[in-house]
């Protein structure tokens, strides 16, 4: 049963960047959500194979990345820095590789702290390699064991924040997006996804407690962000992607019910809803993640962030320097602005937030549903529900209502081609059964059950 039955933040003016009711303290003295927004740098390799033969070069690349980023952070007097190491699949399939690279990063961060006083913390994000099997085996097997080993070894080495972009439910979600089927989206995320989230994060919480680190958070990246990117490519309607985003908050929330304390992972654009519900700090990404993917949420995503991220940038040479170094500079400057606004007081930060929100919200339904005011409406719809399935229906209907009314009032642009989708989705959801058990029976007769292992989802 859901754990959060009320909102930690119910006033949009309290849902803002840099401030969270339940801030997180790190070993080196950062307080995330305690009045300062920190830059969060994420990076990846240039096009190259990752195997035993290339591992020396792989490690050299990461050494170069971290040295450059920390050096620039020191030069720009960053108040602190979150480093996210998102592994590539071979590094999770071979845990020692991922753990060795984590140690390279941690050693450099320790040196920067000792020599220059730079505060930093490592977020370790192994891949959810369970999806390498078809159908994915979600609760056992070598892939699962090696994933846990990567988490454990990294936590033991000093990675304080544990995250992942988990894939439970994705087996049927891609088809749901391609067919524009909102029922299947709800089934994927609010029946399958929530069950896997509980299983996964219960296991990760044990590891975190064992090593005195934190489960930070998960995202519905393969769900909400896939929808967002498809909408950006005009493959699916933006209103559909907006409703998918709202539903994804139900799935992501389960991580926080199982021990996650934030900062929620950067690619969870639904994090604004989670912050309103949980009060935990959140990482966000927007315009500075254009290096990884485009989005209609470039400014509004910063409106409630506690760390500000770039999603992922390859280690390639730009005119200004290596790309990760260039991006850490951009993040630091963005954070400086937000921190200056915070330092100037509540009214100043609310004014800056207003610009972030208003510059995006009217132009895309996906932005409109993620304004602080909209997020609180959606958050309330979730916590008012007695179970995850009802929460999925509730939040979807709430998002559709926000968009319909926003369009009527001239507050959000929706194309003529997309408008019928609002009514279609509403009618579909309103016709869904009240009882989850009946819904599950219906959906199991419709979805391709050979694409997933039902017992791994208690189905």
């Amino acid at each position: 049963m859901p754990k959060f039955s009320s909102l930690a933040i119910s006033n949009p003016a309290d849902l803002r960047f840099g401030v969270a009711p339940k801030p997180l303290h790190t070993r080196r003295g950062m307080t995330i959500g305690g009045g300062i927004v920190y830059p969060e740098l994420n990076f990846t390799l240039p096009p190259m194979f990752v195997n035993e033969t290339t591992m020396t070069e792989v490690k050299r690349q990461y050494q170069e990345i971290i040295d450059g980023a920390l050096h620039r952070a020191v030069e720009l007097e960053a108040p602190g820095l979150v480093i996210e190491f998102e592994t590539l699949p071979p590094m999770t399939e071979n845990p020692s590789w991922g753990i060795d690279i984590a140690k390279i990063l941690l050693d450099a961060m320790e040196k920067a702290h000792t020599q220059h006083g730079l505060k930093s913390v490592l977020r370790m994000t192994p891949n959810d390699t369970r999806e390498m099997d078809r159908p994915p085996v979600m609760r056992s097997g070598l892939l699962w064991e090696r994933m846990l080993e990567t988490f454990e070894g990294s936590a033991a080495a000093g990675a304080e924040l544990l995250s992942i972009e988990s894939v439970g439910g994705k087996e049927v979600h891609d088809d749901a997006l391609m067919t524009g089927d909102i029922s299947s989206v709800i089934f994927s995320q609010c029946v399958m996804g929530v069950r896997d989230m509980r299983f996964l994060w219960t296991a990760l919480d044990k590891i975190a407690k064992q090593y005195g680190v934190h489960c930070a958070g998960d995202t519905a990246c393969g769900f909400g962000n896939t929808a967002m990117v498809l909408a950006e490519q005009r493959m699916i309607p933006r209103v559909f992607a907006a409703v998918v985003r709202a539903i994804s908050a139900v799935r992501t929330l389960v991580g926080y019910e199982c021990g996650c304390v934030g900062p929620g992972k950067d690619c969870g654009y639904e994090n604004v809803i989670l912050k309103a519900i949980t009060g935990f700090p959140m990482a966000m990404e927007g315009k500075t993640s254009a290096c990884a993917h485009l989005s209609p949420l470039g400014n509004i995503a910063a409106a409630t962030c506690d760390t500000w991220s770039n999603e992922s940038v390859q280690n390639i040479k730009l005119l200004g320097g290596m790309a990760p170094t260039v991006y850490v500079e951009q993040l630091i400057y963005d954070c400086r602005l937000m921190n200056q606004a915070l330092a100037d007081g509540r009214d100043a930060s609310l004014m800056y937030q207003k610009w972030m929100v208003n510059s995006d919200a009217a132009l895309d339904p996906q932005a409109y549903v993620l304004s602080p005011a909209s997020a609180i409406t959606l958050a309330q719809a979730i916590v008012n529900a007695p179970d995850y399935y009802s929460a999925g229906k509730n939040v979807a209907l709430a998002a559709i209502k926000l968009l319909s009314e926003g369009y009527k009032n001239g507050q959000v642009k929706i194309s003529e081609l997309e408008l019928p989708w609002l009514d279609n989705m509403r009618e579909t959801i309103e016709e869904l059964p009240a009882a989850e058990g009946v819904f599950i029976d219906q959906m199991m007769a419709i979805v391709e059950t050979d694409k997933f292992v039902p017992k791994d989802y208690d189905l």
Partner: protein
């Protein structure tokens, strides 16, 4: 409007039942199966493909049309098979080794089927030898490789090199995916690059006809 045109409209609108009914009507009237395919079904998907390229429909609507075509093909295919008539071209499509992304690949497969290619989808995380085996088994003229990660792009080169080393020099290879560029295609010796699913069919048609 004659029944072939009505069939096209039914497919464009995604009306499966009507597509099936009209297909049977046409067959009963003695219209050759291949004529139904080439004059009724493929043009319908071509119209839908153009609408998609022009942002007039979304993928779900395109899929609905594809399903209507599939419904019609379900009636026609046994007749074509019995007569030994196969699609002129066969394409093997897959995501390269190490990469699990498949949405783009699935879309291209669907659009190639709509253009009456025989499409063999070998899935994701596909090693070069599996592509080679599929080409040989199905006598394919075209291979489509997909990759979404910069770290799996090198697997495209490995696959191209392996195919050429296996003597498949006449097979056309097209590539696509978010990090892919025409320059990369040129560098690795691929025959073509498609920036999106919508233009993939045009490219595929051009490559196999060359």
């Amino acid at each position: 409007m004659n029944e072939l045109q009505e069939l096209s409209v039914a497919v464009e609108k995604g009306n499966r039942k009507e597509a099936a009914r009209l297909t049977q009507v046409l067959l009963d009237a003695g219209v050759p199966p291949m004529e139904i395919v080439e004059t009724g079904l493929v043009p319908a998907m071509s119209v839908v493909g153009e609408k998609f390229k022009n942002n007039q429909v979304f993928v779900p609507e395109m899929l609905i049309a594809a399903r209507a075509m599939k419904e019609a093909m379900g009636i026609i295919q046994p007749l074509l098979t019995a007569a030994g008539i196969k699609p002129k071209y066969t394409a093997i499509i897959g995501t390269v080794q190490g990469d699990l992304h498949d949405i783009g690949k699935n879309l291209v497969a669907m659009m190639l089927k709509g253009a009456n290619f025989n499409v063999i989808d070998v899935g994701t995380n596909v090693p070069p030898e599996k592509f080679i085996a599929a080409v040989k088994e199905h006598n394919a003229q075209l291979v489509g490789l997909s990759a979404l990660l910069t770290t799996t792009m090198p697997a495209m080169k490995t696959t191209v090199d392996a195919m050429r080393a296996a003597g498949l020099s006449t097979v056309r290879i097209m590539i696509g995916g978010a990090p892919i560029t025409q320059q990369f295609a040129n560098e690795i010796g691929a025959d073509g690059y498609s920036p999106d699913a919508a233009s993939a069919v045009d490219l595929a048609t051009k490559l196999v006809a060359a």
